[in-house]
């Protein structure tokens, strides 16, 4: 007979710090702060915990010869933790692209308005392990819109650590 139940109190928050490698090459960092809003652990011999959390994220990535990209937004994180931990993250936020190099006008004068804002949805699917200090690797696809006449797809690999407060 399988028994299910809500186990323990939902902890206050989780913090995650990750490297954020755009295209797997260009370095950056991502910081997440999430608050669990629902958790459920079954009581089988090898219990599995499922959790839903909401929160926010911010980060930055440096692409040499192209741009610095700073981003922030809200996220919804679903995770399942048994021996290993799997998670899925949906996020929606804004990004500021700051091209590397001077922004100029046709007459050669500097354009102080260089850089652009973009809507930045993203989805990531992660895998990891650990208990008190947890590690994860999370391939992430994100879009930047409007980028030229549409949305531009980008890929990153996040790898980092998270812990509960």
């Amino acid at each position: 007979m399988l028994l299910y139940g809500l186990v323990g109190a939902v902890h206050a928050a989780d913090v995650s710090v990750s490297s954020f490698f755009e295209a797997g090459l260009h370095p950056g960092v991502s910081l997440e702060l999430t608050r669990p809003v629902w958790a459920h652990t079954n009581t089988r011999r090898r219990p599995a915990t499922r959790q839903l959390a909401v929160g926010g994220r911010g980060g930055w990535v440096w692409h040499p010869g192209s741009q610095n990209l700073a981003f922030t937004g809200a996220e919804l994180l679903y995770s399942k933790h048994k021996r290993w931990r799997w998670d899925a993250v949906l996020a929606l936020g804004a990004a500021r692209s700051m091209p590397i190099g001077a922004s100029v006008n046709v007459d050669g004068t500097r354009n102080l308005a260089g850089g652009s804002w973009h809507l930045m949805p993203s989805v990531g699917l992660g895998f990891g392990g650990g208990h008190d200090l947890r590690w994860h690797v999370r391939p992430t696809v994100y879009g930047l819109s409007r980028w030229n006449a549409g949305m531009s797809p980008w890929i990153a690999v996040e790898a980092g650590l998270s812990w509960s407060l």
């Binding site: 192209s66 922004s103 050669g108 652009s116 006449a149």
Partner: protein
């Protein structure tokens, strides 16, 4: 003394800027020796390509010894970005961008500099459009068209004829018979006076297939390490560049497929070098002959062992011909 010290300390120019032109930020990279006063502005292929594709190779190295090579990403392509509606993407818009880039280079290089415009493939379409439909010639000392696509209706007709003529000879010689038979069957099934967009796309596909059968050779001046560095140094990941570039290409497709500039090329008054691969099925060499017949001050060079990219297949000869011609500017 101070001037000599500054000269001794200053290496070759390597500068990147983002040029703001009507809701777009165009990425320009300028590399080479700016002391000579020669600036070559490169128009990349596509639509859907990028300037970084031309940031490698012997010809690039040689041009940068002669002066400054300016590679740039056209609107909606490569790392260029902006916020604008798709229906604003037209050949005229892109030609105006080209004019804007040349005006910026003029402001950067000074009044005494010689600016040469150079275009490959779609860059030949764009450069020709800029030359005949804007005032860019006022700033230019020359124009170099390499296997350009300045007349798509003629291009398609010539490609169909090349498929049949060269394919038949190859079949007679017993080479790649099955593939040539397929290409010829396709070519003979197309009405050259009524070519659809789909048929135009298929002509382009078969053109690259045919070239693979006829052309060998690559630019062996590029080492593995240099090629790797070039690959990872791209200013935009290929999937992001391809997504944006393909969209731009789709937006331009209908207009470009109908673009025929040969009759307008008599308006090109700057010295012109036309460089074509003899086995270019993508932009057949007859387009070069047509251009040479219309442009007053022009010279046509055919590369007998090349297809669409003689800068790769005959790198040494291409670099020599180009730099010799630049010496005459």
């Amino acid at each position: 003394m101070v001037a000599l010290m500054l000269l001794a300390c200053s290496g070759p120019l390597d500068e990147q800027v983002w040029l703001s032109v009507d809701d777009a930020d165009l990425r320009l990279r300028m590399q080479g020796d700016e002391s000579t006063g020669l600036w070559v502005v490169m128009l990349h292929g596509g639509p859907g390509g990028n300037g970084h594709e031309y940031d490698l190779g012997l010809w690039k190295d040689r041009v940068e010894e002669k002066g400054v090579l300016v590679t740039w990403d056209q609107r909606g392509q490569g790392a260029s970005r902006g916020h604008y509606e798709g229906d604003t993407i037209t050949l005229q818009r892109m030609a105006d961008d080209t004019h804007a880039v040349v005006r910026y280079v003029r402001s950067r290089a000074g009044d005494q500099a010689d600016i040469v415009l150079m275009g490959h493939s779609w860059g030949g379409t764009l450069g020709t459009a800029a030359l005949v439909r804007t005032d860019v010639q006022d700033e230019l000392a020359g124009w170099v068209e390499v296997d350009g696509a300045h007349d798509i209706p003629r291009l398609n007709r010539y490609a169909l004829q090349m498929f049949v003529d060269i394919g038949s000879a190859e079949i007679d010689a017993g080479r790649n018979v099955r593939t040539w038979r397929e290409i010829i069957d396709f070519a003979e099934g197309v009405d050259p006076d009524d070519i659809s967009l789909d048929e135009g796309g298929q002509i382009n596909n078969y053109a690259f297939t045919a070239e693979e059968l006829m052309v060998e050779g690559w630019d062996d001046s590029v080492g593995l390490g240099e090629a790797f560095g070039w690959g990872v140094g791209t200013p935009v990941p290929w999937w992001a560049g391809a997504s944006s570039g393909n969209r731009t290409s789709d937006l331009l497709l209908e207009e470009v497929e109908a673009t025929s500039l040969t009759e307008e090329m008599h308006a090109i008054e700057v010295p012109t070098l036309l460089m074509w691969g003899a086995y270019d099925f993508v932009c057949p060499p007859q387009l070069g002959h047509d251009a040479a017949g219309v442009i007053g001050d022009s010279e046509l060079i055919l590369f007998e062992d090349s297809g669409h990219s003689p800068m790769d297949s005959e790198a040494q000869t291409f670099a020599r011909v180009l730099t010799d011609w630049l010496d005459t500017i």
